[in-house]
Symmetry: C2
Subunit: 202 residues, 2 copies
């Protein structure tokens, strides 16, 4: 009956906060984003914020575990379950990411890498959460390489170290592209990785 009935939607409020925090952390950084700004972005009161995330650190952990890991999974793990071989999937991922960055005009960087660089020396638990996402990413890639070796699509190939190279070159290229605000480094790495993988897959 009362008009301004109080919202009582725990999961929804929590999701709104985490979503707003993910956007802000990825585009501006963790430290550069204040809790007050997040309250406004998510349209929640101080009481609601304190209830769901008493300290900022908890929110950082939730963003990594819920959103960042999901983003990595969708863009870098899911494509390897479509049946194609690893080089084709990798090239397709680079292509779509370069396309997205080109059309929206600015490079905000790899979400995982952004979080990793800023927090890994401050908080051991957040560093662990970031490390776990890197681990899952690396595992998916190396498993894909290993499958290709077992099914004789490739040979003379170390799945572990090659997966590391792919992840590292992507992360580094994204960092360079972010610093230059230009997708050139990503394009270069796409070409070089494609040539490198083609050599191993023939």
């Amino acid at each position: 009956m009362s008009e301004n009935r109080r919202t009582n939607d725990p999961e929804g409020v929590r999701r709104r906060i985490v979503a707003a925090a993910y956007d802000a952390f990825v585009t501006q950084g963790y430290l550069a984003t204040g809790m007050l700004e997040l309250r406004e972005r998510a349209s929640v009161s101080g009481g609601a914020m304190a209830h769901h995330f008493p300290v900022k650190r908890d929110l950082g952990l939730a963003v990594i575990r819920d959103r960042v890991s999901e983003a990595v999974r969708q863009t870098w793990i899911e494509p390897f379950h479509t049946g194609t071989n690893a080089p084709a999937a990798i090239d397709s991922i680079f292509e779509s990411i370069i396309g997205e960055l080109t059309q929206n005009g600015r490079v905000s960087g790899c979400p995982l890498n952004n979080m990793a660089m800023e927090i890994s020396q401050h908080d051991a638990e957040m560093r662990g959460a970031v490390s776990a996402v890197f681990g899952a990413w690396h595992e998916a890639l190396s498993a894909s390489f290993e499958t290709d070796v077992k099914e004789n699509r490739a040979r003379e190939l170390n799945p572990q170290s090659l997966a590391t190279l792919v992840i590292a070159s992507y992360s580094g290229a994204m960092a360079m592209s972010k610093a230059r605000q230009d997708v050139g480094p990503l394009i270069d790495c796409r070409v070089e990785l494609a040539a490198l993988l083609a050599a191993k897959y023939r």
Copy 2:
């Protein structure tokens, strides 16, 4: 005659501030380091700090232009002027960095990459300074590759994109090593890059 005679050493004070800021920015990050903390680290008064660096941004620019660029030059550009070919120099650089990180026990990351990730979306001028260092780095590497091609030590090689791959994979591997606090990713990339370059240089 007076005992606590005031120090009057502009260059010295400035160098102490920039040195302290470089250490702090690289190990903790730019935003995580306060001006008060830097005053204490460099043992300078608020007046001296305000005189040399009225705003924090000026200090960030000085650190990038004086220290970060010099660090990149010493570790990643100087070795290519010793006469050896590019792959040998690159492998040697990886070896020494891995050795240093292993013996001092912790991974604080690539100074350039640390600064780049944190500030490139906040300040256009600092982003430009970071971008210039990346540019010098890339130019030195690609010039070294080009020399090797001209003198028939290598062929079928794109100096530009290959240089990007080397820088990106190093930066990315350093980011991963920092997140995991383990030099494994750097070792993997060293091995993979050595094999890749060996194939192009035979």
